[in-house]
Symmetry: C2
Subunit: 397 residues, 2 copies
């Protein structure tokens, strides 16, 4: 049995026994970021939230002056401080709209950009392939008369129905392939949603503060707290922000106060403990810890991929990260694996022959030879993944 | 100045100074149930939640066997125990689907009852007027091709478009008017959603355990924790439950874990401390406390209404409550006030002349002489409401 969890050169994780559960099906499909749990376990009481039965009972926030009437002021402060510290987005002068995860905010943004009394046709929604696999279904499931999914931005017929309006979702770094993306349609009448869920230092070098009309972020991918369902949008235009708030009002009358308060506290500790103290103690700083951990995982994965010669992975350029002040590569949350052999259904291969649930390329608007594999699973699952991948032999079909 | 907050005969609230802020506009529009906050303040540490940074990070629940993959098992247990103790709904053999408030679950139910590949027309959604003012907008805002708002169930044209399918929302006790409702269309092909947000002992006698296909409840109206955004549906049919879960997956990838855990704890204390111990200590038992408090408020309101003779209120029958084992009347969460004079826009009258923001009858599919007034405001606001109502003189126009 190959042991993949020996200490890496930079040593941010401890060695542990290799898993022996070789017959179990492992799930690498979702992006549930359980990889960061050990870090938070070590923080002890510092980030423990205590909430009494009479706290935060109202659905209104205490900040009557805020456009987003359900946003907890402490969460707004933590978000602005964090973006300032990390340098990944301009937050000054933007409205913050909190949502039940960035999934709800994506739909709030579609609503805000499409709802108007004189709309007669649904507006086209596009994203450059490979796009996030949930965009099509999240856009289509209610068969809205306001917007409809129109597929890959690269092949979008701009003049369809004589209607030049469209919404382009720019997901950068990209889920699934980790690449840095920009808008591709670039036409008058186009409106943009920037989904920046993975624009954090552990995944990619922070090269500039993002500065777009609507930028979506999520607590889940920043710190790993997926269970809290907290996302936020930074929105330039007041009218757009108001419509997004209206959507969340109609969709769920606001956002969990408990989750907002917990996110405020946890995100607050990240900016207390980041930039200036970077490198002071590798185990203390969340971004140092998580960057190191993902870098190790990617090193191990590339070793396996290079050894068996059956797959390929994207290459990422070395870039200067303004946050870490180092030249670094991307270490995305997902591996976008390509089977080198022709005509292979890579998803089927993974599940049938090797008991690994992954997401096939077709769902991302790409070919079936691609699969998306989570790099954020627990250590045991990740090690089983490496082990099984290394055991795959050629002649797939 | 009239003082309305003297101790009532059954004495469940303490006397406090009358508010002197007579020029302030007061908001009686929303149903934010801040009235219950003093009770929860007195519970001290018993219902305090402590959650460490590494708790509940995953969006999945620990109960892999549950259809609703994001439901916290503890919350499911608390919900079933509570319904068993209160006797207000059959929960055994039903699926529990948790939602971001019952607002999200209402939309999940519409989706579940309408989505099918062969649907060519949106299904009609009706509710008997006066209906909850948010149903039309929550049904219409995305211009779904699956469902559309078709108004008052009493005037619903059943054969419109040759399509006899419909969804009827039965809201009982009714928001706004507190009455007990049943389905009115009663046709083959009809599907029902029972919104039972107010079917709790503080609002209405519990006469039988409700037993319908889809029943919606909310933490907000049960205990006053509106900020948590927790609702639940009891669902008989597995296929319908699966589709509701799918909706919540697409809409927000589950529901806040922090809120679920807090609701589990607080609802848990309600069933530990209810039926059998009822009447043991009025201040300790939440339903005793809240029933007494609303009963007092209704007594005071009826006194004012009887005195000035300008308004009327619905009458509610005395019924035997299986939970309290007493004959009681309803004490709804809203007062459905009717101006006796003809052609009065009661909402305008309230806001313009008396600085009270209330919700006008037209939004509920009723006449403008009606307004809905929250009975769940804080004590200070409620006293100002009584004071201002008592000062209204005749000759409105």
């Amino acid at each position: 049995m190959v042991v993949f969890n020996e200490k890496a050169s930079n040593g941010c994780t401890k060695s542990s026994s290799p898993s022996t559960n070789i017959s179990k099906t492992i799930n690498l499909d979702q992006g549930d970021p359980t990889v960061f749990e050990p870090y938070w376990r070590k923080t002890g009481d510092k980030c423990t939230m205590v909430i009494s039965a009479s706290d935060s009972m109202s659905s209104f926030s205490d900040d009557a002056g805020n456009l987003c009437w359900f946003l907890e002021p402490k969460l707004g402060d933590s978000i602005r401080n964090l973006h300032r510290e990390i340098g990944n987005a301009k937050s000054n002068g933007r409205h913050i709209v909190v949502g039940t995860g960035s999934t709800q905010l994506y739909q709030a943004a579609l609503y805000a950009l499409s709802s108007s009394p004189d709309r007669t046709h649904p507006i086209n929604v596009v994203s450059a392939a490979p796009y996030y696999s949930q965009y099509p279904e999240e856009t289509e499931y209610l068969r809205s008369g306001l917007y409809k999914w129109a597929g890959d931005a690269y092949t979008f017929d701009k003049e369809e129905d004589g209607n030049s309006n469209y919404i382009e979702v720019v997901n950068s770094p990209s889920n699934p392939d980790g690449s840095i993306k920009e808008a591709v349609v670039k036409r008058t009448g186009g409106k943009l949603i920037h989904d920046l869920a993975y624009y954090w230092p552990q995944y990619t070098p922070i090269t500039r503060p993002a500065d777009h009309d609507i930028m979506l972020f999520t607590f889940s991918k920043c710190t790993g707290h997926a269970g809290s369902r907290i996302g936020w949008a930074l929105v330039k235009d007041t009218k757009v922000a108001k419509k997004m708030i209206k959507f969340i009002e109609l969709n769920s009358i606001g956002v969990s106060k408990e989750s907002q308060l917990r996110a405020a506290m946890i995100l607050g500790t990240l900016s207390d403990n980041s930039y200036r103290k970077f490198n002071s103690n590798k185990q203390d700083n969340f971004f140092e810890y998580s960057q190191c951990l993902l870098s190790e995982r990617w090193t191990k994965l590339r070793e396996v991929v290079n050894r068996n010669q059956l797959f390929s992975l994207p290459d990422y350029p070395l870039e200067y990260c303004n946050f870490t002040r180092k030249l670094t590569q991307s270490h995305p949350a997902f591996a976008w694996l390509q089977c080198k052999e022709e005509d292979v259904d890579c998803e089927k291969l993974m599940i049938k022959a090797h008991k690994m649930v992954v997401r096939g390329g077709v769902r991302f608007g790409a070919e079936k030879k691609y699969v998306r594999v989570s790099m954020l699973s627990s250590e045991g699952v990740f090690n089983l993944f490496l082990q099984r991948l290394s055991e795959i032999k050629g002649n797939f079909n």
